[in-house]
Amino acid sequence: MRKGFSIVFVLIAIFAIHSMAFPAKIDPGKLGVIYYCAFPVTITLDGKFDDWPSVVPWHKVPHDRGTQPAPDDNDASYEFACVADENYLYVAFKVRDDKKVVGEDTGCNVWKDDSVEVYIDGGNEKANSYDANDSQVTIGRDNVGGDPEHPKLGGCVGQLQGPNTGTKAFVVDTDYGWAVEAALPLETWGIELRDGLVIGFNTHLNDDDDKGPRDHKLIWSEKDVADTSWKDPSVFGELKFVEVKLAVSPRDKLATVWGALKR
């Protein structure tokens, strides 16, 4: 009897340790509706993505989801992921793009060239026009090789314009197109990080294939059916911060919080 109890206890203990040694699951949310953003995780902006925990969900926006669809995913499509720490919301983009067009339109007009957009409604008020905690931050592919601490940004709308948000961004060319790691300071939008906090959120991709006007526009939020996020936060989707113990198993020792490891 005692022997049987011991075996059960050992099995439970093994199961518990095993569970801790594997990464926690993060709810993927729903494409175009809500993204669950894990914290605390700190990212180094280097374009390598090796410090993004594998359990973080990536939302893929295909070529035909937007007001100006592309013929296929290789022409234009993207996926993005988010994490946060006490200071920043980190947003990563992996953009599939078969033609690089940069430098024709820059600064506030970078939306006409290859670029990604992050939309934040810090108070999640869902108003029909921008208030003091709403922003469009546009990050152009023209930042490849640039200074990640002071990137060239667009999003010149509203009171809190993209270039004035303190956003940092590292942009790299890749074999499939290009990629972005961006850090958006939470205090810019008055966001006090806590488990369960929900903000308004959206992402876009602008793709230029042949100079001149933009050729493709892809959109994550399913409410943004006519590309009006630049003026109307009510069409944003949502991002919910979730505190997660991202456990890892370093050299067979006990599981440790990812954030603690990085520190």
């Binding site: 035909d64 989801r65 937007g66 007001t67 100006q68 669809p69 013929p71 001149g212 006007p213 933009r214 050729d215 526009k217 409410k223 059916v225 006519a226 590309d227």
Partner: protein, 228 residues
């Protein structure tokens, strides 16, 4: 016991299921049967429906547009509308065309504009052309094939075989169904509309070359009836 005749009668009384059908007008018959000109000068010529009068300035209201409505017994809700639009070479991209759809009457519905800068979708409210969305696109200076797909609030535009635009109208004031029409909001030269094709639930061929039942006799061609 209801008998065979009773059973047949019963079956005939059951509501018919909706069906996806097709309407085509290639204007090869040389007439504009089924179309009602609301404004401007229109004629059927060489397999095309042609708006002939010049419109010097870009219209912002249907009162300034040369347009014609298809007086179909059906209304398009979900489905597809296709046609080819041929601009005059001399226009050098300056002329513009409209495809009107889900028109509740002559002044309310939607319009797709094909013009040199790209594609624009309007909501038409009491004749006013209110832009929902404009997307730059590669519009050819002469012939363009347009396919508009409608599904609930979504509107997808294929230009010359490529999906170029996908927008929605989530407003409660959305027009759910209506008739189609053709228009010209700006043109120096005649604009030709060819091979109009409508596909969708409840759509059917109501005009030329379709057999109809005339007083219980054998089906006759509508064209023959018109000729009498």
């Amino acid at each position: 016991m209801i008998g065979v005749r009773g059973l047949i009668c019963l079956l005939l009384l059951l509501p018919l299921p909706a069906f996806a059908g097709l309407f085509i007008d290639d204007f090869e018959d040389g007439d504009d049967f089924g179309w009602r000109v609301v404004r401007g000068e229109w004629k059927v010529e060489g397999g095309a429906y042609v708006s002939a009068n010049p419109i010097p300035n870009a219209a912002r209201n249907l009162s300034q547009v040369s347009y014609t409505m298809l007086q179909s017994p059906w209304r398009i809700k979900d489905g597809a509308v296709e046609l080819s639009i041929r601009f005059d070479e001399r226009a050098e991209g300056g002329d513009e065309a409209l495809l009107l759809y889900r028109m509740e009457d002559d002044e309310n519905g939607y319009a797709l504009k094909i013009w040199k800068e790209g594609l624009t979708i309007y909501k038409i409210v009491v004749g006013n052309l209110i832009t929902i969305r404009m997307e730059p696109s590669v519009v050819k200076p002469t012939v363009n094939h347009v396919k508009l797909e409608l599904e609930g609030m979504w509107m997808k535009v294929h230009l010359n075989g490529v999906l170029r635009m996908r927008i929605g109208d989530p407003e409660k004031s959305r027009y759910e169904e209506g008739r189609i029409g053709l228009g010209v909001p700006k043109a120096k030269f005649p604009v030709r509309f060819e091979e109009v094709r409508v596909e969708g639930e409840g759509i059917y061929q109501f005009r030329v070359n379709m057999p109809v039942e005339a007083k219980g006799k054998l089906p006759l061609l509508w064209g023959e009836i018109k000729g009498r």
